[in-house]
Symmetry: C2
Subunit: 210 residues, 2 copies
DNA sequence: CTGTCAATCCCATAATCAGGGGAGATGGTA
DNA sequence: TACCATCTCCCCTGATTATGGGATTGACAG
């Protein structure tokens, strides 16, 4: 049983050559190809593909929008994004929206077949540069911690505040008086340069202080 | 000029066979290998490697700790993690801590050489299953939005609250009275099931409502 | 045309919070 | 020893917030 494929690509030449590339391999079957993602949901319903190849930069309805349409109905259908750019914005946007793989057009000839097999086996094929980008972003998200020189006690209390506890509850949980809690919070505010709970909690969460 | 490699792997047998695998290729040079990451910073200083191969599961100082040590000094030195587990926790932990690549031991023979070349060219080699895991996590982080049926106005105000604005400031910015702000916030709290600013802000940020 | 909903406004009160002050007890360091 | 940071406690006051009412308007659906 061949792997059933739908292709979205606005460049006629590339679409044609991709089509023949796919048809060449006997374990792939190209069901249809389109020049934009305008009717992607209908296309899927009619063709029942196993995998979708989606260019990002298309007129009318582009690849990201197409991806969104797909994900609104089909959560697990593998979608491999194709693009000439390794532009950060596009990549991250596609991935946030649930792309399964992401290959640069320059790697198409060497990687496409492999990539299709990989997604069918539950993998996530990416051009190495794309993978690096994702890891970098991921890493940034999780290490950004400016040093405000909060003491351990202050961190605990900020944590508790961030969990939505009132001064009273914090005092109870930490086994200290209400007055002490306010004292700690005063210095937390000073160190963070904020003037309200909302600001403190926001800063704590955004900068991963807790 | 061969690519200079340091290896960390506690299993003697595997360490030996990796060592010979690496020495076999003439574009690689194995500088040294160790059974845990205890002296990783000294090792690096002495050997000046281009790439580090790091097992995760090692006695004394494990791969994640080793990675952390490395990242505290060397921000760009490529570190490829090796593991038998495709266990979510390890993978994500390693990536959060700045791993450059992540390959499963079952793929070592077929992918290792390739992976080393990829990191040297600025890529991020990952076993497909690992890549899928990362994308999935990434995707979750960015789409998790439970529907609390907040109205547009309520979302705006929640946003403003999350930015650290007081009721007064919100009233001013939105051009409505203080009373109206409290009314909106009342219904926001009801819909979110919270009873304080801190809780609301926390929930809004954690569940990406804003 | 009637009901529902979003958005606006108002009133009122108890509780909580922000920010100002001062002060004693640790424990480590210069 | 003297200093300094940390953690603890206290007092006070004005501002802000949480929560309970009730009410009007316009839009939209049935």
């Amino acid at each position: 049983m061949p792997i059933r494929i739908l292709l979205y690509e606005d460049n006629t030449e590339l679409r044609t050559s991709l089509a023949s590339l796919i048809s060449f391999a006997e374990d792939f079957e190209l069901l249809a190809s389109f020049e934009n993602a305008g009717n992607v949901l209908d296309n899927i319903k009619q063709n029942q593909p196993d995998v979708i190849l989606m260019d990002i930069d298309m007129p009318e309805v582009n690849g990201i929008e197409g991806l969104n349409l797909i994900r609104s109905k089909y959560n697990d259908l593998p979608v491999i994004m194709l693009t000439v750019f390794d532009d950060d914005g596009h990549v991250l946007e596609a991935i946030k929206n649930g792309a399964t793989g992401y290959i640069l057009k320059q790697h198409l000839t060497t990687r496409l077949a492999n990539a299709i097999h990989e997604v069918m086996e539950g993998g996530a094929p990416m051009s190495p540069a794309v993978a690096r980008l994702v890891l970098k972003f991921f890493n940034n998200q999780h290490t950004r911690k400016t040093d405000y020189a909060l003491t351990n006690r202050e961190k605990q209390i900020l944590q508790s505040l961030t969990d939505g506890n009132s001064y009273k509850m914090i005092a109870f949980h930490e086994g200290i008086t209400l007055g002490t809690v306010t004292t700690h919070i005063k210095s937390i505010y000073e160190k963070l340069g904020v003037h309200s709970q909302a600001e403190a909690v926001s800063k704590a969460l955004k900068e991963r202080l807790v």
